[in-house]
Amino acid sequence: MSTTRAIINARLVDPASGQDGPGGVLIEDGLIAQTGSELDLDAADEVIDAKGRILAPALIDLRCAKEPALTPDGETVDTLCASAMTGGFGTIVLAPNARSPLDKADGFAGMNRGLAQRGVRVLSACGATQGLAGEQMAEIGLMVRGGAVYAGCGDAPIHDTRLMRRLLSYTSQFDIWLASRPADAHLAQGTVALESDWSARYGLPSEPAVSERIAIERDAALAELSGGKLMIDRLSTAAGLDALRHVRSRDLEIAATVAVAHLTLNEVDAGGLDSAFRMDPPLRSEADRLALVEALVSGEIDAVVSDHRPTPFDDKGEPFALAIAGTLSLETMLGAMLGLVHDGEVELIDALRVMTSGPADLLGLPQGRIAVGAPADLILIDGDKPWVCQPDAFASARGNSAWSGRRFQGRVLQTLVAGDTLYNS
């Protein structure tokens, strides 16, 4: 679209430049043409007065999921995109999981061409092993040619150390991240909770927090050996964070993501064993949550991911220990993160960094920042608007949400991608 639009009088928050103050943007041809408080408005066809609103880069999510095509009543690309734009996302990345392993090179490029037509920028990662079984490498190179932005291992860690070494080594030639869940395959096998006083009392099969530490130390050692780029896919414990700090003291390319659930919920939220709180990785202790928040503030977390996961039954249909893991979170992620801001746990600019420039920089994307020449992927937020999470009202096709019934403060008013308003509340 060739319309020239301006957004003025906003509180402009741009984590990439560290700017947080009054300002606006001028958008031309889908790109940001000017920023600041003295814009050349003569050329603007439309001027949006955003007084009292926050103007920030549209959010970027490195890890979400739809359901396999043709799943009855399932989350399609359409509903996923609707959910994303409602939640303020301009870019989302489909990550491989057991139901959609994204491990076939055939049709991968075509799939990505289709995904590129959606308004919201939908990118795709690829599965690193065939069927995510952790046994045979998938055709990663062909899928990278077909548009894969990183390679992932799904929810199960790679138990075979030799294969992990080869994956890191092989992916290094494409300069892409290999995302791996930090868990020791044997310690994590069959578990549904953190090993803790809480899970022991309930008799839940549980995984000790050191499982994460062991995996990070192993995978970092292999990254050092092979020269690969290791993305720690959803760090969730203080023990894992200690390991991350330790391995980062060496000169390695290591990125770390955290799921929004682990920053804003803890194991006790599952209280009476509500299946909505069954997650992979499982929810951790409050001490773990606080350590992750602190790491976010200190810049040790590169990206916060939604880990948006639609499941076939809204109530999951089964008791906690048998329930499918995962929660929807695209529509509640900003609200949950703003909760941390309102509670004084993090500054707004830090909360936004891990949802905008942080993930953009990991993938080398031009968006995720308010800079001249960058794509005009932007959101306008009312930082104080109160609302209650009601899964029935989600744009998503499903309703499984760990935040169901939660009260949030702050909501997206408009989501723009390439200068076009995709969502307007």
């Binding site: 839940l204 109530d315 089964e318 008791p319």
Partner: protein, 320 residues
């Protein structure tokens, strides 16, 4: 203290966890169980107190003794008892537990007795159906009627369980019986000891209000009762101890080792029992010490008490 001093009625319509009970609730259950225990020893066992009510036994895990005990309890109280062997039914046809629950609830039973391999399944079914639910064992979480019958058995021998020293030895990690017993014995004020190899103890067990031992001879000192637990092989992945005979030599109960305990020590086992693994076969059969068969007898009486008390509350609700 007799409960006639208060005006207090048993308030529960579910029994999911022993943590839901207070000492007076437990006393009420024991009073009714004592009544049923005596009646069960006469040829005139049957009452009609649950006449018109349907008890559904939903066992998602195979069980002989617990299911039989609940069935007998229900029938002796005049209820219609229906057994659903869920392991071979809709669960294997891919139906979710929510849907199974709603289907069964539509048949209008009054009480569901539930055993399931997953922690929280009885609570889940209670929430989904609104029916009265009795937990007959959920995963490694709880088995409240077992704990009640264990303490009831002891209370038949002693004036009070409070203040007594009771040892639980064996596979505590995988045991719902241990979790319920620890909860109940804590409520009753007993001194609880646990003894197991570290691989068969939960990680934070020292916070459970128990003294923890790895040496059985040390643990047995001065105990008034000792409860042996079998290794729950069905819930284990991989080996937790090197062999059964090593386990017996380190943690198996024998007459010799019980010399360290109180002279009147009582030996318990929730069954099924592996002779020569957690308990010496002669000890298991020693009528002076073993109350293992008393536990089985108490089991029917306790389950009658629970069904009767819950049944009374269901009738009260219907009348209101």
């Amino acid at each position: 203290m007799s409960r006639a001093e208060f005006s207090y009625d048993f308030p529960h319509r579910h029994l999911v966890s022993v943590a839901d009970l207070n000492p007076v609730d437990i006393q009420i259950i024991f009073e009714r169980a004592a009544h049923h225990l005596a009646a069960n020893r006469t040829p005139d066992k049957r009452s009609e107190v649950l006449r018109g009510l349907t008890v559904l036994n939903l066992f998602f895990e195979a069980s002989t003794r617990t299911q039989g005990s609940f069935e007998m309890a229900g029938k002796r109280l005049g209820a219609d008892v229906v057994n659903f062997a869920m392991a071979s039914s809709s669960a294997s046809k891919g139906e979710s537990l929510s849907d199974t629950a709603r289907t069964l609830a539509a048949m209008k039973p009054d009480i569901m007795v539930v055993r399931h391999s997953a922690t929280g399944a009885p609570q889940f079914l209670a929430e989904r159906t609104g029916l009265a639910v009795v937990n007959a064992g959920d995963g490694m979480h709880e088995h409240p009627t077992q704990a009640l019958l264990d303490s009831f058995t002891l209370s038949q021998r002693w004036d009070s369980v409070g203040g007594r020293r009771i040892l639980i030895v064996g596979d505590i990690l995988h045991s719902r019986v241990a979790r319920s017993n620890i909860g109940l014995l804590n409520i009753l004020g007993a001194e609880i000891r646990l003894c197991a190899p570290p691989t068969l103890l939960p990680s934070d067990v020292d916070q459970w209000g128990c003294d923890v031992f790895h040496d059985l001879d040390e643990a047995l000192k001065g105990c008034d009762a000792v409860m042996a637990l079998r290794q729950q092989r069905e819930r284990m992945s991989g080996g937790f101890v090197p062999s059964e005979r090593e386990f017996f030599h380190l943690f198996g109960l024998t007459h010799d080792r019980l010399e360290a305990a109180s002279p009147d020590v009582l030996v318990m086992h929730p069954g099924p029992m592996n002779r020569g693994v957690e308990i010496h076969t002669k000890l298991a059969d020693d009528p002076e010490m073993s109350v293992i068969l008393d536990q089985v007898e108490s089991g029917v009486a306790i389950r009658m008490a629970i069904l009767e008390l819950i049944g009374a509350n269901i009738r009260k609700e219907a009348a209101a």
